[in-house]
């Protein structure tokens, strides 16, 4: 048990080391001098050289990697070169918006995806099967920004039920709960398509396996109602694939969050990260990217543990 856990843990630590090195290499390879671009139209080469030295940009790459890791792990993330704001403060500011959006989209996606897959498994209506498959295809194929614009045109412009992007009323003061939900609704719906599709596809496939279908038929013949079958049996079976999908698609969800944040003017971490890269705010980009990767790895790790817990046999086979 402990040995298996240690093995899993070391795998994820190795994954982190690999990812952080890859991020460092990628950021290092970005062309365009981050210091020169800070001086805008009037670059003073002497000041640029001084600033490079101060930031340790002239060291060899292994040293710079180690320094950057040390600073990252110590929580010393520095300031943005363009806005002058503390990177950690910015993370605290923008991360909640992205978490709020991602979690609500995940909740909505899993709820709808799972419900449709379960209903299809019960064989309530033949079109439910088609719906489960349809959601799978549409959610994975249709580009997220297109869905976003569609939702804006219908939900905000034609119907006028929801605000046209943004995270809050631009009035001065605190946000009310109702306001939070109104602003959250459309971007959540938009981003939920991806987890909805993944969950629907995977769970549907699992529940359509012949022995499960036979099991459902057997339960039905004993006179069990559909709700009881779902509660007592199917949910438990569907849980493992669902959690695995949730765990592994979290990274993709963050990627999708960037598109959603752009279309809906949502002030999240995705937009922050992309503008940091385009603006050559490279220390910000590296630290935030490393943090996000760490988060994705951690979520995958936790999901893996939960699945392992739910089904010791399966976990045992894997490790």
């Amino acid at each position: 048990m402990t040995a298996a856990l240690a093995k899993k843990l070391s795998f994820f630590v190795g994954l982190y080391l690999f990812a952080s090195l890859a991020i460092f290499a990628a950021i290092d390879a970005v062309p365009g001098d981050p210091i020169a671009s800070r001086f805008g139209k009037a670059i003073d080469p002497a000041r640029v050289a001084l600033e490079r030295e101060r930031l340790g940009l002239d060291e060899s790459w292994p040293i710079r990697y180690l320094i950057s890791q040390q600073q990252f792990l110590a929580g010393d993330w520095g300031r943005s070169l363009t806005t002058g704001r503390e990177t950690l403060e910015d993370l605290q500011r923008f991360m909640p918006a992205t978490v709020e959006l991602s979690l609500s989209a995940l909740a909505l996606g899993v709820a709808v995806g799972l419900s449709v897959a379960l209903a299809a498994a019960l064989g309530a209506h033949p079109w439910l099967t088609r719906l489960a498959q349809g959601i799978g295809s549409i959610g994975l194929i249709v580009p997220i920004f297109w869905i976003g614009i569609l939702l804006l045109v219908v939900g905000a412009w034609w119907l006028g039920w929801f605000p046209m992007g943004g995270r809050s009323d631009l009035a001065i003061g605190e946000r009310g709960f109702v306001e939070v939900l109104r602003y959250l609704a459309l971007p959540t719906a938009c981003l939920s398509f991806f987890p909805m599709a993944s969950v629907a596809t995977v769970t549907f496939a699992r529940l359509q396996e012949p022995e499960l279908q036979a099991f459902v038929a057997a339960l039905r013949s004993r006179g069990y109602g559909p709700w009881r079958i779902v509660w007592r049996h199917l949910l438990r079976i569907a849980a493992a694939p669902t959690i695995t999908v949730v765990g592994t698609s979290f990274g993709a969800l963050l990627g999708g969050a960037f598109m959603t944040e752009t279309v809906f003017s949502w002030p999240g971490i995705g937009r922050y990260l992309v503008s940091a890269i385009l603006g050559r705010d490279l220390f910000v980009a590296q630290n935030v990217l490393t943090f996000l990767v760490l988060l994705v790895i951690a979520v995958a790790f936790v999901a893996d543990l939960v699945v392992w817990k739910l089904d010791p046999k399966k976990g045992g086979e894997e490790s």
Partner: protein, 533 residues
């Protein structure tokens, strides 16, 4: 169980959404909302260089002088009057009486000097170490001292005459902030501007919006709206939807194709005027092939600039004949500068075509729109076609903007499409940048062709110090003749400055320099056309 709860929550969420009033978003008629593509970087006039920061500060801060609406002429502003000594070395300003900064600090000569001294004096407490003060070393280097000679009289003394200085004093790095800003906010003063302008700063929600409110003690004409919101809407389509639905009242950052569609839309008013910029093709004279004058001359003759403007700018700009915009001091009258003559071009290039047989001419271009080139890649592709008609095979390399700038500055290119957005409306601000040998330093260059010519340097330096406009204009015409002989850069177009407001608003005027003066906007009182407009 969990799934029921989630379902319940979700349906609740939708019900709540449905039951609310239509999404008016700050429905009050007392608020004006302006939408733009990105957020400001900092709100410290001495340490910004991006348009969004400057556009925000325009509502909050003011300078001693400013540009008369719609012109490149200077009028006194926070100074009631000004005078320049005969030798051009001392600028005296009589500070306007009764003006207060937003924090209540009265404006006097000493308070006005503060905003200059903190930039020039490295030991000044508000000379923040994290600030680059890039503009100070670029436009204000000739300032020797700024002195409050009397309580309400400020003198700016120069090392040497600089004919562009008065205009430089009208733009954002010279706008005044409260001398108490640093005491109150410390380094946070860069995110908490305290000016004298029509609106005052309230709150900054990064990547979301900057909230401003009417300055109740404003010395000039009070703005019509109680609140002004500068909202960030990164997606172009969403921004347009917001304008059309009324969630935003005005916007900028439009693509030419969108502008074309909006011109006929009665719900909005499109404001467009020639911008203070030039898009051009730079030749790196340190590479052998384009260092040959005939090659450059032939390429210039082979470009149909009228068609270039139609294709590259889709009507949102105009062809350029000279490296300076029309109306600038010294704008010349010789007509053959941008002539299109493919026959002559082919004659000129014929002996040199062999040079391009093995390796095509590489043109580097940025992937993102700029004020002088709304669609750079299309423009470069068009140019590629024109070069191929001339017989020169060409290759377009698309780079992101920062990479492009880096390669240009370091001379790591053969030909590159780029442009310049003027700062102070002065000819020196274009020609010195393009042709001065002091601007051709590797790594920091703005003279991307690395053009070095002693006569040009002499003309530019003389013109900078010449106070008499007539003589100055003559010097610039001579400099442009030299440019025309050598053609280190080929001017292609001037992009338009475009802002769109919903038609229920009026009073707005585009500024030559690009200032976004939103405090002049007001709601149209009745549907009849406003006669004052």
């Amino acid at each position: 169980m969990r799934s029921t709860f989630a379902l319940l929550l979700v349906s609740l969420l939708f019900l709540v959404g449905c039951s609310r009033e239509p999404a008016g978003e700050v429905s009050s008629s007392q608020t004006f909302i302006f939408a733009r593509g990105s957020d400001a970087q900092k709100l410290d006039p001495a340490d910004v260089d991006d348009g969004e920061s400057v556009n925000t500060l325009t509502q909050i801060c003011e300078g001693l002088v400013r540009f008369k609406s719609g012109t490149l002429e200077i009028e006194p502003w926070l100074a009631e009057s000004y005078s320049i000594s005969d030798d051009g070395l001392v600028y005296s300003f009589d500070i306007r009486k009764g003006v207060r900064f937003h924090d209540g600090t009265p404006l006097d000569a000493k308070a006005a000097a503060y905003s200059f001294l903190r930039q020039m004096d490295e030991d000044h407490p508000a000379h923040l170490p994290e600030a680059a003060f890039a503009y100070w070393s670029y436009l204000y280097q000739d300032i020797q001292d700024v002195v409050a000679v009397e309580p309400m009289r400020l003198e700016i003394r120069l090392y040497r005459p600089n004919a562009a200085m008065l205009r430089s004093l009208a733009i954002f790095p010279a706008w005044l902030i409260s001398p108490k800003a640093y005491e109150t906010y410390g380094t946070e003063m860069q995110r908490h501007p305290v000016g004298t302008g029509p609106y005052r700063f309230v709150e900054w929600r990064p990547n979301e919006a900057i909230l401003l409110e009417r300055n109740p003690d404003y010395w000039g004409e009070a703005p019509a709206f109680e609140r002004l919101v500068m909202k960030v809407v990164p997606d172009n389509t969403t921004r347009l939807l917001q304008l059309k639905s009324g969630a935003a009242h005005g916007m900028d950052g439009l693509q030419p194709a969108e502008v074309a569609a909006l011109r006929t839309d009665p719900a909005v008013t499109v404001y467009e005027d020639a911008g203070l910029n030039v898009g051009y093709l730079a030749f790196n004279l340190e590479t052998p092939r384009v260092a040959i004058p005939e090659v450059r001359k032939a390429i210039s003759l082979a470009i149909d600039r009228e068609r270039f403007a139609t294709v590259a700018l889709e009507g949102a700009g105009r062809p350029a004949s000279f490296p300076i915009p029309q109306g600038f001091l010294g704008y010349p009258d010789f007509e053959d500068a941008s002539i299109f003559d493919l026959v002559q071009a082919r004659e000129l290039i014929a002996p040199h075509l062999g040079l391009f047989a093995e390796r095509p001419l590489e043109i580097i271009v940025m992937n993102a729109p700029r004020p002088y080139l709304p669609d750079p890649v299309t423009a470069a592709t068009f140019l590629q076609g024109q070069l191929e008609a001339l017989g020169i095979p060409a290759k377009v390399t698309v780079l992101d903007f920062k990479t492009q700038l880096d390669r240009l500055r370091n001379g790591d290119f053969e030909a590159g499409m780029i442009g310049w957005v003027g700062d102070n409306g002065d000819t020196d601000n274009f020609l010195s940048v393009f042709f001065g040998s002091w601007s051709a330093v590797k790594g920091a260059a703005t003279n991307y062709s690395f053009y070095r010519n002693e006569r040009m340097d002499t003309l530019l330096l003389e013109a900078r110090q010449e106070i008499d406009p007539e003589r100055r204009a003559t010097l610039y015409r001579d400099a442009l003749r030299l440019w025309h002989r050598d053609l280190p850069i080929l001017p292609l177009c001037h992009g338009d400055n475009i802002v769109v407001l919903r038609s229920e608003f009026t009073g707005f005027a585009l500024q030559k320099i690009g200032d976004l003066r939103l405090s002049e906007v007001r709601r149209r009182r009745d549907p009849a056309p406003d006669l004052k407009e």
